[in-house]
Structures are given as C-alpha cells and as structure tokens.
C-alpha cells in the first residue's frame, strides 16, 4: 500500500525535505554473502554490443534529414550581447535556422564565462553550421571580470548563501588542545571529459518531441524539457540506451538539448546539437576548485577535540556549492566542529557534479591534515584514525558502518610500510600513505520496475533507468534472477527509454543500484508469487510448498520438479506482470558508505616525478551485487583519481579568463601506462536497515580518498607536505624544497 511520508531526500550530498509517496517494502533481506547469482562475478549483458561497436550511442544516431548545430560561445569571460544579426549567416548555403539569446533556454544575453552559449545555427552539415558562426554579426559589451575566488568572497559574490555549522565549542576546545595543526589546501578544477561529448538529437513527431540524448537521467530530462516547453511529460520521449560516460556532468539537459528542440521545431527536421571536445572542456561543467583553511586540535593521546575549516568553493558562473566540509563534520568522532563554506561566483565555467562532489576535495584536505597531526603526535596514522572512530553522525545512528572492518582489511597493506620504505635509494624515495572515505550512496525512493514473464520461460525487467557504463543493467538482471530462482541468462533488461517503463532515478550519487535494485527485487517477487499461484493450480499442490530453484519449479516434497518453461508454456500470449517499488529509507538514520585506501608511491626527489605503484582499497557499500563489476568500479575510480591527483590540470589565461587547456594533449588524463597495481576488497555485509537488498552505491566511493592517500604516501616517502592538487612536478619540487628548509631549521625530514 502506498503511504505518504515526509522525509529527507539526498542526492550527491544535497538534502531536501520532501513529501514522498512510498510503497511498503515487505521483503526480508537475503542472507549475507554470495548467493546463487547475486554477489558473484557476472560479465556485462551488454558487453558484446559495446565491445563490437554495435551499441548505438547518441553520437551514432543519424536520422533522415537531420541538421547539425554549431553554438556561438562567448570569447569573453564576462560580456553582454549588445546586438546580434544573423542575416549574413542565414544567407550562406545550407544554413537553415538560427537562434539568438533568449530563444532557447541556455542561450543568454549575458555571458558569465568564456564559452557561455549565446546563439546557435543549424545547417545541413556541422562544417556549414560552424562556417556560418563566423558570419554572425555580433557586438559585445565587455563587463567586469572576477576570476579570484577570494576576491569574490570578500565582495560577497556568492552562488548561494554561505553554509555555517558548529557543534560544541570549537574555540574553547582548540584552546584546551595539547597539539594544534593548521594547513591550507587547494584543489584544482577537474574536467569530466566523458569520451562521448554532451549531445542531443531532437525530433518532433506530431506534438511529441523525441529526445535522443547522452544523459545520466532520462526521466529528469523528460521533466525538465516538458516544463521548459510547457508540454505534457508524456509528450517528451527521452531515449538513451547507451551513453559514453557522464561522471556527474550529464544529470540534466543543457543548452544543447533546448537548442536542438527549438531548431527542430523551427525547421521541421531532426536536429543534432553536439559539443566538440573543446566545448566539452570549456562549457560542459567541471569539479570546482577549492581553497580550504583547516585546523585540528588534539590531546596528546590522539583524541581529536576540535576540527575547524573555512572552505571556499570556486564555483564559477553557475552550479551548486557542494559539501566540501562534509568529511570534516562526519568522518571522525569530535564534539567540537566548526565549518564555514562559501560558494564563490566568478567568471569561470560552471560547476557540475563530478563523482562525489565536495567530498573528494574535502577528503584531500582533511585526511592530509590528519596525517600531519599523526606526524606531530608521532602516532601511527591508522591508529590515530581508529582512536577517533565515529559511532554516530552528529547524533544520528548509522544504518550500518563497517569502516573498522575496512581498517582491518587494510592492515596487511599498511604493514608493508617498512618493506616499501626499504626500497628507497638516493634519488627514489618510497613510502606508504592512507586515507579514509565517507560518502553518501544509499539512494532512496521513488523508483519502480516491472517484470514480464513470458511463455518461453524468459523474463524482462522493464524500468526507465539508464546504464551509463557502470553496469546497472547487469546488476538489475542479477537481482531479478536471484529472486526468481532462474539462471542469469534468462533475464533481459529493457531500459533507457522514458516511454518504455516506469520512473527510475538518476545514475548519479551512487544511487542507481540502491534505489532501483530493491524495486526490481520487489517486482521479481511479485512475478514469482504469481507464477507459483499458477503452478499450485497446475500441479494441484499447495502454493506454500512450491519454489523456483535454478529454473525449476520444485515442491518441498520433491514430487514436483519441472522446468519453468514447461509450466509457463501454458501462458500462451498471456503474460505475468510483476510490479515493484523502492521502499523508504530507514527513518532517523544516516545511510553512508565507508572505506579506506592505502597507496604506495615512489618519488624521484631530483626531478619531482611521482609513481603510484600500488593502491589497496577496502570499501563498505553493503551487499555487493556483481563482484566483477564492483571491482571494475573501484579500479575506475582509483584511476580517475590518479588523474586529478597527478596530471590533470585545467588552466586559464589569467588576463582574459579563457580556458587554455581545451584539448586532450594539454588536459592529460591517465593512460594505461599510469595504472598502479590495484588490490580491491569489500566488507560485503548487507546494511540490515536499508531496503530489501542492504546494498549501497559504489560509483563514487573509490575516488574519494585516493588523492589524500597519495599525498600522505609522499610525506611518508620524503617528508614533504603537498598541499595542492594536482601534485605536478612543480608542486612536488616546491614541497621537497620546503621540507629541506624545514629540516635545516631542525625539524626532521626523510629527505
């Protein structure tokens, strides 16, 4: 039965109180540990088409008569379009239509960053559209440019109100601490650079708009487009069966979608609007830079008594201000915490969610600070973390927390310290560092799934979710197969089409599996119940003695043992339809994910070269659904983290605010040669309070602690404190130099 609740909804660490209609979730959880299907290794169901190049991405869609769009973007970091004239552009061959500021959402008269969209042209080919941009007669009025986030804060230029938090009495606790450590940490802008750029193809069929789009949230696109265009949601069909990566940057439609929809309306033809790689690097969102001034006070036994942080999120022209202070508030037991977080509005490209936004940045600062405290107290960093283990989150109990088990799993990797350090030579210094991880990932309602059983004994899960490459399609099939008692290859999943299934949540915030998975299980249970009802009548036995195991309908006494397809054959064209919904999250509890990573690095102290040689990860995300896919997620998160820790650098011209690193030779993401040995373990214990699965999400946790683990390993190896990401050679050499100077003044350093 549906019930109305008032509850806290969390997405990517953003909370809001909402009214929610939820359905009960009467199923009890499966026993812990690997089951027949769930918890085992499964290859991806759609891997063959992806590997063979058959998967059709938005980039591959070619509709008859389709036009192509080029977007006119501001060359100025802050300017206003005074006048725009398309006459010459529209006269060029093959040019079909043009839009100016205000004619589609996202085309604005005021451009707040270099790369902001102001106009668009549709033509027969992309080349013709781009050539037409040069013929657009445009007059700009340049406006004041602010690029420095600290200046913006001083001038109170914010994207959102500042967030202030205090528990206990920070000042007093600090004054009573035996040891105080302070540090200023900086993290830089990181670009998502999904391999498939942001893009959409829009086509009007009658009064219905078909939107083919590379997105993490088909239902969200449907809602946003219907709202913007003032048409019913069912008149917007959003399709994304395969998409080439998002990492948080594709959670909603942007200007390219609205531009394509409007140009399609005006021309009566399908229109593609796709960002180029360079636009992807200037205009598609980013992980914002941060500045963190942090303080920790502790007793000489290592008890942390005070934590304080002033955080500036350098948001850019738009975006939201993520909870960079979250780890400081949540990771350790500390009665006195004070944080302030500002979201600076500056004339740089917009912030968009990027894989654990805020927590990646905040964990770098906090976990480096904690290690510096350990060094000062001459305490083992792992021991220090254990001594300050939090048993609740600001008074709220955790639905489950197995961070201590993660620490235990990590112990053997941590114990390699002496062995690793002993490899050091005159120039290459080796060391080990660790960092803990805390993040959300519990998902929440609503999400729905249907399951269709047909007379051939096969099942199809139908839900309007999407698989952005994380393997959720396969995870849903595994959950359904487990509940139904059938082999995995009997279950297909139909997703990626808002017109072809019930609502499902977005693929972000590590929320897809914990949100949609329980609905799929509930749908499977509903379908199974109906099948057993039929079986009871067919075999003339009581329903309660029947079950489905490994594809057979069996009775407890062994008298019935029939292949499921033999039973379902009697369905003919009749179908069994199971329905399932995601139940509520546990009231009054904090649903969080935990983990720890141990990094081994080598630093060439003469050239500043850093080699990450090994990363061991232990994460607690509740029940693991697909063990193989889970390992891939962890590896992927770690590798992406190596990029923002060492080599990825988004640079802008300090005079004009234009982005300089718009190409992938300049913005350097890791290659296969940069990958360390990765060891990955899970606690794999269901969260007994969370849904019928006890599963949390795993998309984001692995990227959270990596940068700090590497920085702490660098300190262990060299004695140098790195306080800035990325740790370029320039930064590494600076830190080594500072450590040398510190040593000269008497403080010990390993260099």
């Amino acid at each position: 039965m549906a019930r109305l609740i008032r509850t806290e909804k969390e997405v990517e660490g953003r909370f809001e109180d909402v009214w929610l209609v939820v359905e009960e979730d009467p199923l009890t959880q499966w026993p812990a540990g690997p089951l027949a299907v769930v918890g085992r290794d499964a290859t991806r169901q759609d891997a063959p088409e992806r590997v063979r190049g058959e998967a059709r991405f938005t980039a591959d869609i070619q509709l008859p008569g389709m036009l192509h769009t080029a977007v006119l973007r501001s060359p100025y970091a802050h300017a206003r379009v005074r006048r725009i004239d398309f006459t010459k552009a529209l006269a060029l061959p093959g040019v079909r239509a043009a839009l100016g500021p205000g004619e589609a959402k996202g085309l604005e008269e005021e451009a707040g960053f270099a790369g902001a969209a102001v106009a668009a042209v549709a033509a027969d080919t992309f080349g013709k559209a781009r050539a037409a941009l040069a013929a657009v007669d445009i007059e700009w009025e340049e406006l004041e440019v602010v690029l420095d986030p600290e200046e913006a804060v001083e001038r109170e230029m914010f994207t959102a109100p500042s967030a202030r938090y205090e528990r206990g009495d920070f000042e007093r606790a600090l004054s009573e601490a035996d040891v105080v450590v302070e540090g200023t940490y900086r993290t830089s802008v990181v670009l998502h650079n999904s391999m498939e750029t942001h893009q959409a193809v829009c086509e009007w069929v009658g009064d219905t708009l078909n939107v083919y789009i590379s997105t993490q949230y088909i239902w969200g696109v449907r809602d946003a487009v219907s709202k913007e265009l003032g048409i019913s949601g069912d008149k917007v069909r959003v399709v994304c069966e395969f998409m080439g990566g998002g990492f948080g940057s594709k959670n909603g439609p942007d200007e390219y979608t609205f531009v394509a929809a409007e140009l399609a309306r005006r021309t009566g033809r399908p229109v593609r609007c796709a960002l180029t790689r360079r636009e992807e690097n200037t205009s598609a969102g980013n992980r914002n830079a941060t500045l963190q001034k942090l303080t920790v006070g502790a007793k000489s036994d290592g008890t942390i008594v005070a934590l304080g942080g002033d955080f500036i999120n350098a948001i850019g022209w738009s975006g939201w201000s993520a909870m960079t202070e979250g780890p400081m508030q949540m990771l350790y037991a500390c009665d006195n915490v004070r944080t302030v977080r500002h979201g600076a509005k500056i004339n740089t490209p917009p912030m968009k969610a990027f894989r654990a936004p805020g927590f990646v940045e905040g964990t770098f600062g906090l976990e480096c600070l904690i290690d510096e405290l350990a060094a000062k107290l001459e305490l083992d960093p792992l021991e220090l973390r254990k001594r300050n283990y939090a048993d609740s989150n600001d008074g709220k109990p955790f639905s489950s927390k197995n961070l201590m088990q993660c620490y235990e799993l990590a112990q053997k990797h941590w114990d390699r310290r002496d062995e690793v350090r002993a490899r050091s030579t005159d120039t290459w210094k080796h060391g080990v560092g660790m960092a803990s991880q805390i993040w959300f990932g519990g998902g929440g309602p609503p999400s729905y799934a249907w399951i269709r059983a047909t007379s051939d004994g096969r099942f199809t899960v139908v839900t309007a979710m999407q698989d952005i490459g994380t393997g959720t399609r396969t995870a849903m099939a595994m959950i359904a197969a487990e509940e139904l008692g059938v082999p995995l290859d009997r279950v297909d999943v139909m997703l990626g089409d808002s017109a072809r299934g019930p609502y499902a949540t977005l693929s972000a915030g590590s929320s897809t599996t914990p949100s949609v998975g329980p609905a799929v299980r509930a749908a499977a249970a509903d379908a199974k119940r109906q099948i057993l009802e039929i079986a009871a009548q067919r075999y003339d036995v009581e329903e309660r003695v029947l079950d489905i195991k490994d594809g057979l309908v069996v009775s407890a006494d062994g008298n019935v043992s029939t292949p499921l397809e033999a039973l379902l054959e009697i369905l003919g064209d009749a179908q069994i339809l199971g329905k399932g919904a995601r139940g509520p999250n546990p009231a009054g509890m904090s649903v969080l994910t935990f983990g720890v990573q141990v990094a081994e690095v080598a630093v060439d102290i003469e050239t500043g070269e850093i080699r990450v040689e090994r990363v061991a990860a232990a994460h607690d995300v509740g029940r693991i659904i697909n063990a193989l896919g889970a390992r891939s997620q962890v590896e992927g998160g770690i590798i992406q983290g190596i990029g923002h820790t060492l080599s990825e650098q988004r640079l802008l011209d300090p005079e004009t605010g234009r982005i300089l690193t718009t190409t992938l030779d300049a913005y350097r993401m890791p290659t296969i040669a940069d990958v360390p040995e990765i060891v990955c373990e899970f606690v794999d214990a269901p969260d007994e309070h969370l849904t019928n699965l006890g599963s949390k999400g795993l998309g984001e946790p692995p990227i959270v602690p990596l940068a700090a683990a590497i920085a702490n390993a660098i300190r262990d190896a060299t004695g140098a404190d790195v306080h800035e990401l990325p740790i370029s050679r320039e930064e590494m050499l600076r830190a080594l130099d500072a450590a040398k100077k510190k040593e000269k003044r008497g403080a010990p350093a390993a260099v």
């Binding site: 050239t607 080699r611 640079l651 300090p654 234009r658 300089l660 290659t671 370029s728 320039e730 050499l733």
Partner: protein, 279 residues
C-alpha cells in the same frame, strides 16, 4: 581543396606538403594553416634506414623498432607521442612540428601568428600562463619546442639533406625575432629528404613527462658521446631544440613558473652524462 600525390620530385609544383598529417590536418582544421592544394609527399620522400642514412619519410614507429640506430634516437622515438601517432608520423614531419604553446595553438595574436598584414606583437605566455614553457631564449617568444626526436638528433650531430642542400641539423632551426618569425630555415617548397648520422660511441635520451606515456616533453635530455666529447641537447626548454652550451643550465633565464624545469633538466643532464660514462 585538392590533394595531389606526386610520385617524383619533378612533379612537385607548390602546395602544402603533407606526410603523416598528424600536425598538418589539425592545423588546417583550426585555420592556423591554409591551403588550396595539399601535396601528399609520401611517394617522393625516402623511407627506411640504410646504414647511417635515414629517410625522412621513415615513421617514428619504424625507428622505434630498429636496432640499427643510435640509442638516443630510438629512445626518443619510443617515448614520443602515442603509438598511433608514432605509426603515422614521419621523421621529417616531426622535426618541423610547431610548438604546443596553448596560446599559439588557440590562435592568440602572438608574435608567431600573422595578424592582418603583419605579425602579433606580444608573447601572451610570458605574462600569462607559462608553466610548461621555455627556460632558454624566451625573451621574444616563450614557447617550448616539443620534439624529442629533434633533441636526440641534435645531440647526435645529425646532418639533413633537403631538396636544395645539406646542412647540420642545428642550422635547420633559428630563434624567431622581430624581422623573421620562422623557427626553421627551409625555403618555401623545400623538403627534408634524408638525415645522416655520424658514428657515436654512446647516446641516450631521458624525458620528464607528467604521464608515463603519451606526453610532450616537460624536459627532454639527449646526450651523445663522440670522440670522448659529450654533446647534450634539450627538448621542451626553448622555442627551438636546444643545444646545451658551455655554461650548461646556468645560462637559463626562467620565467616565474618555469624555474622548476631547471632542477629537472639538471638532474636529467647529470643522469644522461653518467649513463654515457658506463662501459
């Protein structure tokens, strides 16, 4: 635009030469190069290794796979670019590549770009973002030359033969100045055909990158020993491949954010020299 595919030098008649296309095609697309006529010169530029003579049409991948060339050249090819780019790029084209300076690549009106009838009158990198730029000869233009192979060949004392003449490799390059913005001394239409390498006793190439593979050199150091003398050349430190003079790195004139390159270069120069001492 037309594409010609001459099969002999005699058929050459103007146009923009293109070999592997890894540099020319992107620059044409960006409008930094312009041409109505492209000339695919793969049919006329020698390819392959014959003793100490290397055809300018030899790809970097072919050089990487050769055991018949000096270590410095082979190592430079191994560490250059990506596998696909090494498959496509010719030796001659590599020597003629342009800087990776982001201002230049994005078409800022800098001193190496035409602006109207004249040339740009400032170096944006000097006052702007220059952390990957030059530490030598960076007064007029602070760009850093990205060719690993040019540094290796410079240290090896290579000579080049063009369609017009023979010259030592160092004479292929010139620093840009007010009067002449070119960084190479080739005449219009002049093609590099072959390179000749003198015998060396030992050589090596060391490269600092921020990824383990597929990066342009932050600093590349080539060293070759010949008749007991060591010759050192650097990539990524000056607007042209840089032959290290008698005063070594002390002559560097770093910009505020390029000083770190001196430490890297010093270490690599010492290591390269040490490697050549080994029997």
């Amino acid at each position: 635009m037309e594409l010609l595919r001459p099969s002999s030098l005699a058929e050459l008649d103007g146009g923009l030469a293109i070999h592997g296309g890894t540099e020319v095609v992107p620059l044409l697309r960006d409008g930094i190069l312009e041409a109505d006529r492209l000339v695919d010169i793969r049919g006329i530029v020698p390819r392959g290794i014959d003793g100490n003579v290397i055809g300018a049409g030899t790809t970097l991948a072919e050089l990487e796979a050769s055991t018949a060339i000096p270590d410095a050249l082979r190592e430079a090819c191994t560490l250059a670019a990506s596998p696909q780019l090494r498959n496509m790029s010719s030796l001659g084209g590599n020597l003629l590549q342009s800087t990776r300076c982001w201002y230049w690549r994005l078409g800022y009106p800098c001193r190496l770009h035409r602006v109207g009838e004249g040339w740009g009158d400032r170096c944006h990198a000097r006052e702007g973002e220059h952390r990957e730029h030059a530490i030598f000869a960076n007064d007029f233009c602070a760009s850093a030359h990205p060719s690993d192979i040019a540094a290796a060949l410079l240290a090896l004392g290579a000579r080049i033969r063009t369609t017009k003449r023979e010259l030592p490799l160092e004479e292929l390059y010139r620093l840009p100045d007010e009067a002449n913005r070119d960084i190479v001394t080739l005449d219009p239409g002049e093609l590099i055909l072959e390179l000749e390498l003198p015998q060396v006793e030992a050589s090596t190439y060391l490269k600092a990158m921020d990824r383990k593979r597929w990066s342009f050199p932050q600093v590349g150091v080539a060293a070759a020993r010949r008749g007991g003398e060591i010759r050192i050349a650097l990539a990524g430190v000056a607007p042209i491949p840089w032959l290290l003079g008698a005063d070594g790195l002390d002559g560097a004139t770093p910009l505020p954010r390029t000083a770190w390159k001196i430490a890297v270069a010093k270490a690599l120069v010492a290591r390269a020299a040490a490697r050549l001492q080994r029997p």
